[in-house]
């Protein structure tokens, strides 16, 4: 029975990531997932925001189901420092007796969660794509082997840490009341900053493939770096990002950060358009969870067609510009 009592009180600490005083979409996803879990267990969602002068945005999280919001702010916390952030998350989890700590599997969340888990003596389920309550306990599903298999995992420690894959969970707006927002002071020491971020460079405001809702990826079939221009034109019309296959990256046509696949980024956009990409096992592992897949390839036997919802067998150099024009027409651009 003791266990059931714990479930009654399932308190979830939801780390809501912000950058430059603006929440990331991933923050709302985390709060939404926390809210769903709290609903099922009669629990409470306590959101945590860390940064500099961010108390003004804290209440936004009420809209997604945060019952309360904790704000830890200091000029030293403007940029991410792994040890400081992990220590604050752990302190807040202890302060609230949280039994679940939820983060997004963003660059920050992936870096911070393992430290948080070790400090809390908690098991970590990383990069989850489904999180449910089963027999009063959390059951998470996470891809392994680059998405070639899915694993259902159970965390056996009293405190559980989970990261959820960005862009997978829906952001739900609820009719929440304005949450109580508390600014909590934390004493920061030099030891918290033995690793500290001194600068952030964001590349030309370009949308990252892992965050984009529409991804257009080019492969070896594009024949050279100059031909990615037509993908960029299509991406601009669609509001998407341009990715690259491993072959295209290894050939030096595109930067590593754009690579989609098992040894690149895993993406799950609403629409994935593969252009001149054969669809090797390692590539498919990184994009097969996309909602809709379009393949354009001149080889009718290319494996990519086996997973594509829609395919055109033909010359990408004719099809892609025509597609851009057709989409422009449709969108009235």
């Amino acid at each position: 029975m003791e266990q059931e009592e714990d479930i009654e009180r399932m308190k979830i600490l939801a780390f809501a990531e912000q950058r430059n005083g603006k929440f990331k979409k991933a923050a709302f996803e985390v709060v939404s997932v926390a809210y769903t879990l709290a609903q099922q267990t009669g629990g409470e969602v306590i959101a945590l925001v860390i940064g500099d002068s961010i108390d003004g945005i804290a209440s936004e999280l009420g809209e997604y189901g945060a019952h309360r919001v904790l704000v830890v702010q200091d000029p030293k916390l403007a940029l991410y420092s792994p040890i400081a952030y992990a220590r604050i998350i752990v302190e807040m989890a202890a302060r609230e007796n949280a039994t679940v700590v939820l983060l997004s599997a963003t660059a920050l969340g992936k870096d911070c969660a393992p430290r948080v888990a070790v400090k809390l003596n908690a098991g970590l389920a990383a990069d989850c794509i489904a999180v449910d309550i089963q027999d009063g306990d959390i059951r998470a599903t996470r891809p392994m082997y680059g998405g070639k298999v899915l694993a259902d995992v159970k965390i056996t420690t009293p405190v559980k840490v989970l990261t959820i894959r960005p862009n997978v969970f829906a952001v739900q707006s609820i009719d929440g009341t304005r949450p109580q927002c508390d600014v909590v002071s934390v004493s920061l020491q030099d030891a918290d900053f033995t690793a500290r971020t001194t600068a952030v460079t964001i590349g030309s405001g370009k949308l990252d493939v892992a965050e984009a809702d529409i991804v257009i990826t080019g492969g070896r079939g594009l024949k050279g770096p100059e031909n990615f221009k037509m993908l960029e034109d299509l991406a601009e019309v669609l509001g998407g990002a341009v990715g690259a296959s491993r072959a295209a990256v290894d050939a030096g046509w595109r930067p590593h950060g754009d690579q989609v696949g098992q040894t690149g980024k895993t993406v799950s956009p609403t629409l994935y358009i593969a252009v001149g990409v054969s669809g090797s096992i390692q590539h498919v592992a990184g994009m097969s969870s996309s909602k809709y897949i379009v393949a354009i390839n001149k080889d009718k036997d290319a494996p990519i067609f086996q997973i594509a919802d829609y395919g055109i067998v033909g010359d990408a150099f004719e099809i892609v510009p025509a597609l851009t024009q057709e989409v422009k027409k449709l969108l009235g651009k």
């Binding site: 963003t106 970590l124 159970k154 590593h256 390692q282 025509a322």
Partner: protein
């Protein structure tokens, strides 16, 4: 500048993965195992640090005898010493990190390098957990690295950009593709690696914190349709995306 680099032995990214009869693990039959691709960047960086600053590079791996193959590759690339933490038990990230941290603590290196993740369990957690267990700073997903005295200035990849991070050594770094171009082992190195000893140790056991209950293949997508075989199919494709998929 002494460096420990943690390496793993994983199914090749080209391998098809099937579920074993127990429903909890993968069927290893016919699966080719290789040095984890991200660990190659970690080894290369370790060797470059040694070449520039002197010191020793030790490669360590946790697993069964099959991991010796991966350790030999590390030796062939040029690491000075290889250590196998011999253990065949099922471990979660924390279990792996505990065993590696236990060994690394004894060596007390200046720099620890790992791949940003193993492409088997894909947790991307072991490296940072080792750092936490050792009480040292870490930077994950590193794409550039510069050591200056007792400090490192590194860049890590984040969504759409990079963070510059200043770190006090000793510290742990996890390597992302792009950090460097890993060298191919020379024939001489490969031959020499064959006769080099691999030290074996038995790591202590820890209880699992995370259990895999079941694994399965993801739901397969039904075969889609070929809309057409030339540029004339474009209007129909756009219509389908607009009306059937409702995404435009």
């Amino acid at each position: 500048m002494n460096v420990v680099v943690c390496v793993n032995h994983v199914p090749d990214s080209a391998a098809k993965i099937n579920v074993a009869p127990d429903g909890k693990s993968i069927d290893k039959t016919g699966v080719a195992f290789v040095l984890n691709p991200y660990d190659e960047f970690a080894i290369e960086e370790a060797l470059r640090i040694k070449e520039k600053h002197g010191g020793e590079v030790i490669a360590v791996s946790l697993g069964g005898d099959s991991h010796k193959e991966t350790l030999r590759k590390a030796l062939a690339m040029g690491v000075d010493k290889a250590v196998l933490l011999k253990d065949e038990s099922t471990r979660d990230s924390f279990g792996v990190a505990t065993a590696l941290a236990e060994y690394i603590k004894d060596v007390a290196p200046d720099v620890i390098l790992c791949g940003k993740q193993s492409i088997d369990a894909d947790n991307a957690a072991v490296g940072v957990m080792i750092a936490e267990l050792l009480g040292i700073p870490s930077v994950s997903v590193v794409v550039s690295m510069k050591l200056e005295g007792a400090q490192a200035i590194v860049e890590r990849e984040i969504e759409g950009g990079r963070e510059t991070v200043e770190v006090t050594l000793p510290a742990l770094f996890t390597a992302q593709k792009g950090l460097n171009e890993p060298r191919y082992p020379a024939l001489k190195g490969i031959m020499a690696a064959k006769s080099k000893p691999i030290e074996e140790r038995i790591p202590s056991q820890v209880a699992q914190k995370v259990e895999v209950v079941a694994i399965r293949r993801p739901p397969s997508k039904g075969t889609g349709k070929i809309v057409g075989t030339d540029v004339s199919a474009v209007p129909e494709l756009v219509r389908l995306l607009h009306e059937e998929a409702k995404i435009l």
